[in-house]
């Protein structure tokens, strides 16, 4: 046949088609090994759950990251959440507009003049000690002997120290020197801070110790009359 073969185009095409029928078989061991590996890969990919689901024809379901369809309840909840967020944002914007100075302070971190304390720190710290003095609250009525009684703690208080004769219906009063607020460093300088009795006429200009005692006695008498 090869001697009679004329290499025309049609003959070559027929020869090639005969050649196409000549197929080699896949070696069985190779095929089995390859098939097992392929099925293992199919199982691993299908078992991982990463394969894409069937789409809805609009290209949305072809991606593995496509989302599930929303139910009407989910839509309502989503709309409500969006509305709540918008309302909250509007409220915060209005509040910030009305209190812009505070917002600026918050942003800058510096205090304003209104927030600063009007009282100097040292006076503010000593004032509660004056109010908490126990002699002021428990001062009984009585007469004061200027020579024997100690000096009053404060001019503004006006409570006299009880005398030694009038001890029947009044609580016992310590006859010792009344306490005054000590100096923090231990150096007691009379008249240099609040809560301490001035000792000289120069400390309280225009008013002497005698005048103070007489004023206190008069006030006490008025108070007794009112009580009776």
């Amino acid at each position: 046949m090869s001697k009679k073969f004329v290499p025309t185009e049609s003959n070559i095409q027929k020869l090639l088609k005969n050649l196409s029928a000549d197929k080699k078989s896949y070696p069985k061991d190779m095929l089995d090994t390859r098939r097992a590996a392929y099925l293992a890969q199919v199982t691993s990919v299908a078992g991982s759950g990463l394969h894409p689901k069937k789409g809805n024809g609009r290209g949305q379901g072809s991606s593995p990251h496509s989302a599930a369809p929303m139910t009407p309840l989910m839509k309502v909840v989503l709309v409500a959440l969006v509305a709540a967020n918008v309302a909250l944002a509007s409220y915060m914007a209005i509040y910030a507009y009305e209190n812009w100075d505070r917002v600026q302070v918050l942003l800058s971190g510096k205090p304003t003049l209104s927030e600063a304390s009007p009282v100097p720190p040292e006076i503010f710290n000593q004032a509660p000690e004056l109010e908490a003095t126990p002699e002021i609250a428990a001062t009984p009525e009585g007469t004061i002997t200027p020579g024997s009684t100690p000096a009053p703690t404060s001019l503004s208080e006006g409570d006299p120290q009880p005398s030694g004769n009038d001890t029947s219906d009044s609580p016992q009063v310590d006859s010792s020197e009344p306490d005054s607020t000590p100096e923090p460093n231990g150096k007691d300088q009379p008249g240099k801070h609040l809560g301490q009795t001035p000792h000289g006429p120069g400390d309280q200009p225009g008013q002497s110790d005698q005048d103070n005692v007489q004023d206190d006695q008069g006030k006490d008498k008025d108070k007794d009359k009112k009580e009776k």
């Binding site: 290499p7 070559i12 095409q13 090639l16 000549d22 080699k24 390859r34 394969h51 069937k54 072809s62």
Partner: protein
């Protein structure tokens, strides 16, 4: 054809039976094609494995063939062979050519025809250019049409026609010299 479309749709849903059927249906075909290209059974087997592995990857990514699964698998095999041949510019060893020559026996073919077929096969592998060889193999040995062949080799149909006619002319010249 309708069965192949249904099979492809099931494979896109990662139906394991469909994927198994696809392998059983196309693995021997792709092996034959790869063996004709590379003339190495081991390399052909590796190409088969790579082809189906890539098919699974494409299906997993939501891609893959839309209509023609057969042409798609041929295209993957062709691209894999081209990539491998770019890295290894090799010539088929004599043993492999002898393997092909000794294993192409068919009951129906005569001895003279057998010798002629072997001569044509050698001419296809050694005398034709790469593009001509691919077109001849795909068009006549694998039985693909012009459109499928053009898609696989990445050329238009006119170029495939030209490559086909030039390849046949070259084979004619070789066979006339015998």
């Amino acid at each position: 054809m309708a069965d192949l479309s249904a099979l492809l749709k099931a494979a896109k849903r990662f139906d394991q039976d469909a994927l198994e059927k696809i392998f059983d249906l196309f693995a021997p075909v792709i092996y034959n094609y790869a063996l004709r290209l590379c003339q190495d059974p081991v390399q052909a087997d590796q190409i088969v494995g790579d082809v189906f592995s890539k098919l699974l990857d494409q299906l997993n990514a939501g891609k893959g063939p839309r209509t023609n699964l057969r042409s798609y698998l041929y295209q993957i095999a062709y691209n894999l062979f081209i990539d491998q041949s770019r890295y290894s510019q090799r010539v088929a060893p004599i043993e492999i050519v002898e393997f092909i020559a000794t294993n192409t026996g068919s009951v129906q073919t005569e001895i003279e025809n057998r010798a002629l077929l072997d001569t044509v096969m050698l001419a296809i592998n050694n005398k034709l250019t790469e593009d001509q060889r691919h077109v001849i193999i795909l068009r006549f040995l694998e039985g693909l049409n012009l459109k499928e062949t053009a898609k696989i080799v990445g050329k238009n149909t006119n170029s495939v026609k030209v490559l086909q006619s030039r390849g046949i002319a070259k084979l004619r010249q070789v066979l006339s010299e015998i």
